[in-house]
Symmetry: C2
Subunit: 343 residues, 2 copies
């Protein structure tokens, strides 16, 4: 048995997390029992939701325990199997977290069938949780219709980029929001957004108004803060707001002082009959087959593109997550934990 | 032809409206043309939404023009008819506004069939717009289920009382919120709420927590402000919030300074997958037949009760609306404009 490298949650961050909230340890792996598999992590997905798991505030998911392995989706290879569903060499999508190896009973482990010309890392990207998040949130809550305007932040990130591209396929005008001109250019040129605005620009609010001359029918909420506040005055009648994430407020320790904007949102909801609805991808498991069929087709045809932001080595995962929470990533953030046998 | 008395919107209020924003005039009535009817107003309904029509802020409905007759639903009697759908003496529900008489082409006028023992004033109350608002909002957005907890403010008002009683029929625990112990007692004793809390109490937030030991599944939003902020921390997974009104913020001229509570609501929506949705009753016209059937049955069987707050004479309508906006009413507010021929 090889030894394992694991990244543990050392303590719960108060506000902005730091490297010292994590601990990297080396441990022994147990030997396999009947029904178990040993997987080696190839790619670890880094995602904004992980900030939530570091806290013990009430949520839809149990927090990562202090001293526990950081949670996370991975693309892994089966090294050894005592489970009839898997054989050595199988590429799988699993959720074994921030570690080099893992022993599991195979529950929740999905075998990935590699697609010609598409890296297996997409199993935790456009063809995995982030892609499915975009797909089910639009299908069930956003309901984009031909001719409507959709606004999404983090437009170069894995969820935002996919949201914009699906909405484009559905015939929407798509307006992305991203941090900085490089990401904005990329979102327009590669992901086909009709416009993409830099939320750091002094006149961002004016740019948003100009980019949405017919108002906003779908606002995909994944950041909150300044972008949400700029969107509210432009919401159309019967607009929809799937609430997928709130990255700007995850590390907030106190509510901000200043003007109370809650009445502004409530008035917009009432006046426009807007629907604002939170969701998580795991509520829509029954859509998985449709998602894989549609998204695989769109990726193969080039209608949906994706961009990866790769970080080398598990030791750099904490820094990668901290950067992601600050918007330093450019595309789907992955840690290359070990060699990809399909390359 | 008799002369008419009308209440006009003299000017748009800035903030809290006052009597001087209205003007009472006497006018001549035109003679009837073919297809027209002359109606005499018996009861004029006063409702919180009227504050919205006094403003010209963008909304789902056109504002009342300055110099125009204040808008409002009425129970009226047909005095004269040149329209084959109506005959003199018919009791009708119409929307001819704050005036003693009106000439109309009969569009949108509904003949009321009086129910034994039930006053015709219910045509603008529990068997009219407020009752239908409660019915369609619960059916389409609130979706109360057996064993769930519902919270509604203005629990002695015509919408809130009906919301609570329908939710009770559906098997919910119902917690009302009202202004003062008298209204709270009435809501519990007459409308059958499991609890009713005074939102003016110093420890209202603690009382709410104690009254909702299993959290809140449906929050019927008709007031915003302190009640909404107290509800947010208790929202359950998959909770629903029909947004029907925001009476505490209708006369707000600026957003309140202090803590920004918007992140609090957004976090609750995401964490709980809560659905917050604005609506207006006129979006659900196709539910009208079901509403009349169900509600008539419930009123006749005594499962749904109602309380009226009557004001005498059209001249007192402005004061009645101002009082309603401050919560001075106790039950469905009606102006007795002229004699009820069914009594």
């Amino acid at each position: 048995m090889p030894t394992n490298t694991q990244v543990l949650l050392k303590r719960r961050p108060d506000g902005e997390p730091s490297e010292s909230d994590f601990e990297i340890v080396t441990t022994d792996l147990p030997s396999l029992e009947d029904g178990q598999i040993l997987t080696r992590t190839i790619y670890l997905s880094l995602d904004p939701y992980m900030r939530g798991r570091m806290s013990d505030a009430r949520s839809y998911a149990e927090p990562t325990p202090v001293g526990g392995v950081m949670t996370g989706g991975t693309v892994s290879v089966v090294e050894e199997s005592k489970n009839e569903r898997f054989k050595a060499g199988d590429i799988v999508v699993t959720h074994t977290g921030w570690q080099a190896y893992a022993v599991s009973d195979g529950k929740g482990v999905r075998t990935l069938r590699p697609i010609e010309g598409v890296p297996i890392s997409t199993g935790v990207g456009v063809l995995g949780m982030p892609g499915m998040t975009a797909y089910v949130g639009l299908k069930n809550i956003g309901e984009p219709k031909e001719g409507e305007t959709l606004v999404v932040a983090a437009a170069s990130g894995p969820v935002g980029a996919t949201v914009g591209q699906i909405a484009k396929i559905k015939g929407c005008r798509t307006v992305g929001v991203a941090g900085g001109p490089e990401k904005c250019d990329y979102a327009v040129k590669e992901f086909g957004f009709d416009a993409c605005l830099d939320h750091r620009a002094d006149d961002f609010e004016d740019q948003l108004a100009a980019a949405c001359p017919d108002g906003i029918d779908v606002y995909w909420e994944n950041v909150a803060g300044r972008v949400l506040e700029a969107v509210i005055p432009h919401l159309n009648f019967f607009s929809r707001m799937p609430v997928c994430g709130l990255i700007s407020q995850y590390s907030m320790t106190d509510l901000p002082e200043g003007t109370n904007k809650l009445p502004l949102l409530m008035r917009a909801i009432l006046t426009n009959r807007t629907r604002v609805q939170g969701f998580i991808v795991t509520d829509y498991g029954s859509d998985f087959k449709d998602f894989i069929t549609d998204m695989t087709g769109w990726v193969e045809s080039g209608q949906v593109k994706f961009k990866e932001h790769r970080i080398k080595s598990l030791e750099n995962a904490p820094g990668g997550l901290l950067g992601l929470l600050k918007g330093d990533n450019f595309g789907k953030t992955l840690v290359e934990v070990s060699d990809d046998p399909t390359i």
